[in-house]
């Protein structure tokens, strides 16, 4: 089965890449965007019996750096 992992910067952590993207959007004439935060999307193909606890451990140990990032796991 597919598992989708969304890794996002924690609130309060400055995101220079998001700021640059925001700036570029404004440069393209898109108004009304108040903030941009860039993150990472990771798709895993896993056996059906891989537990939620294992998926959580994968995120905490490698896929996200919990000093700066949060993660969210979705089974597709």
């Amino acid at each position: 089965m597919k598992v989708q992992v969304y890794v996002t910067l924690k609130p309060g952590v400055l995101d220079p890449q998001g700021k640059a993207i925001h700036h570029a959007l404004e440069g393209l004439g898109f108004g009304g965007v108040s903030d941009v935060r860039a993150g990472r999307f990771i798709e895993l193909e896993v056996a059906d019996d891989v537990s939620d606890a294992d998926l959580d451990a994968m995120c905490a140990k490698l896929l996200a750096n919990t000093v700066i990032e949060n993660y969210r796991i979705e089974r597709a």
Binding site: V13, L14, P16, Q17, A20, K61, L62, L63, N65, V67, I68
Partner: protein, 221 residues
Amino acid sequence: MKTAVIVFPGSNCDRDMAVALEKVTGRAPAMVWHRETELPDGIDFIALPGGFSYGDYLRSGAMAARSPILRSVADAAGRGVPVLGVCNGFQVLAEAQLLPGALMRNAGLNFVCRTVALKVENSQSLFTATYDAGETLNIPVAHHDGNYFADAATLDRVEGEGRVAFRYTDAVNGSARDIAGVLNDAGNVLGMMPHPERAIDRAHGGTDGLRLFEAALGVLA
């Protein structure tokens, strides 16, 4: 005095680090490949060099921090063996949670490659005892992900415990409180973005980095 340089695929300052260690100890370091599971016996000092280990995949230092040799490095650090991580080596040590915080993309988004001024904040550590407190050093940086981040409570604790080894004297990469180098709680692990191994010979344009190696290696000599 036996030293080791850990070499990852994508390391590119491993040779410079080896030259610095040999210059100070008179003996070539062991070059230890990331797939090794054990360090050579009797290693007194471990260096993690700069570069782009594993192509900076996932996050800078993330893959290297989970490589087989890092378990031995962590064990050695736990026993009190001095460990120096420079640039990518600092990123690896932070990812391995041997040092607090994380290194993020530079605030200006640009790769920064120039000599910067550093203030010695802690001149008592085993890496910095050859410097005077408050002394200004000129050491090169060359990095894209040197923006040091930790939450306010961690920063307060690290500062309160005197674990900031070096601070930039002006804004270089957006680092929290201009932190350029940080020590672990036991004081035997130092991570720093500037490259002391690139300032050990007058032909480099400066020798301010040499005393760091003399301090770290002389204590043990």
